[in-house]
Amino acid sequence: MRELAYLRPDDVGDAVAAVSGNPRAQYLGGGTNLVDHLKLGVTSPELLVDVRRLPLDEVEEVAGDDGPVLRVGANVRNSDLAAHPVVRSVFPAVARALLSGASGQIRNQATTAGNLLQRTRCVYFQDVTTACNKRDPGSGCSAIGGYARYNAILGASEACVTTHPSDLAVALAALDATVVVQGPDGERRVPVLELHRLPGDRPEQDTTLAHGELITAVELTAGRLTRRSTYYKARDRASYAFALVSVAGALQLDGDTVTDVRLAWGGVAHRPWRATVAEEALRGSAFSEEAVLAACERELSAAVTSEESAFKVPMVRNVSALVLGRLAKEDR
């Protein structure tokens, strides 16, 4: 590990100024991903700006234009957010997603913003002896033609075929959360769907944030739809494993008619994949398992797979049917 300077500013403005002013500075939150990367040599900042003790650890209920808003501070721990009574009752997909991630110890350490900004677990990204365009731009992609079980099937590029590892991000994508971001020139709001990006020819860039921008909060608007939401994670082990595929869904029925639906997929792309084609096909139609499967087929017509990742197509389609089927049962 290289020499490392460390700063712990008392306020958000000082933290943003410290990172913005130094291209080799990084924020440190709970550290569960970053400290590992320091050891592995995946990243080697010269300055860490510790934001974990900034006063961004409250969960507040505030009024919003479209209903009550839950404003989650960036430093709220994953375990505390999953256990929050409003999250459990009004945003069950968020609680389920958080509880399916990592372990009890890690959820006590990991923060809300850090969860969204964690980096891929692609084995090549984490192994500095291999080529990886995300870690070392221009070096190539070892996952193409390599170990492909966890590779993306949607929106990948010739430069990068990896997936985003966060469960929380998938649930937030389904529920149209907003991320509050502080930059050197002020605050802006970013729909969570616009936070993460597809790899294109710049896979080193996970998100649309500029260097130095700091996530200070995540906002969720409550509604009937968010209460009828859930999350399912398919993985190689029953616990403490990353997703092969995951599905966050929300459903509103009037009789058998789908009046509203949300479907977001994890483990299939470089960012949480909002299945808008499938949602559009389902909205207004009669709810049935066959209808969900057919809608997902349409979404997946653009899928590109290898022999090792081809299983993800039927898996994400079938898990979507499972998730929406469960929600339909609850709603009837």
């Binding site: 490392l4 300077a5 550290g31 375990s79 990592a102 009890g104 890690i106």
Partner: protein
């Protein structure tokens, strides 16, 4: 870069200078001589370095010491009440149910179980809880899920499960 920090470990306050790259685990083991937390994988995958940090179960291998200036750490060695020479109930349950073979993962398992039981007492749900809003009942599936961050290479899981089950009931 060096930084001066204070860490309270099992009731003893330590004022020490650390390199900013030092983890809490390395500080405890290499500098302070507190060898109860073990270094297994050193990458947050095995749980053998688990302690209670500011009251909650926490990995020490993925924590920089400088970021935890002022923290209070309780290791498995500090759980027992030294004054009356009695083990912590979770430690006693591990002995009573053979919740170990080689013992390397045990301090982490014990700290994790203590933290986990406290989380359950506070009503925290888990991945396997059917009803997110109900008070959790620590059946075997719940215990397995909540302890999944602690690996045992000897495979003493049957005994660990029995130990935690008993500790949950006492």
């Amino acid at each position: 870069m060096q930084a001066e920090i204070t860490l309270t470990v099992d009731g003893t306050e330590h004022r020490t200078t650390v390199d900013t790259r030092t983890t809490v685990l390395d500080l405890l083991r290499e500098r302070l001589g507190v060898t109860s937390p073990k270094k297994g994988c050193d990458h947050g995958q095995c749980g053998s370095c688990t302690v209670l940090l500011d009251g909650r179960r926490h990995l020490t291998c993925l924590a920089l010491a400088v970021a935890h200036d002022g923290a209070e750490v309780v290791t498995a060695a500090g759980l027992a009440d030294a004054a009356d020479d009695e083990l912590h109930p979770v430690q006693q349950a591990f002995l009573d149910h053979d919740g170990l073979q080689c013992g390397y993962c045990t301090p982490g398992q014990v700290c994790s179980a203590v933290g986990m039981l406290d989380e359950a007492k506070q009503g925290h749900p888990s991945h396997v809880s059917d009803d997110l809003e109900a008070e959790p009942e620590l059946d075997d599936d719940e215990i397995r899920e909540r302890m999944s961050g602690n690996l045992c290479r000897c495979g003493a899981y049957a005994g660990i499960l029995a130990a935690v089950r008993e500790a949950a009931r006492s």
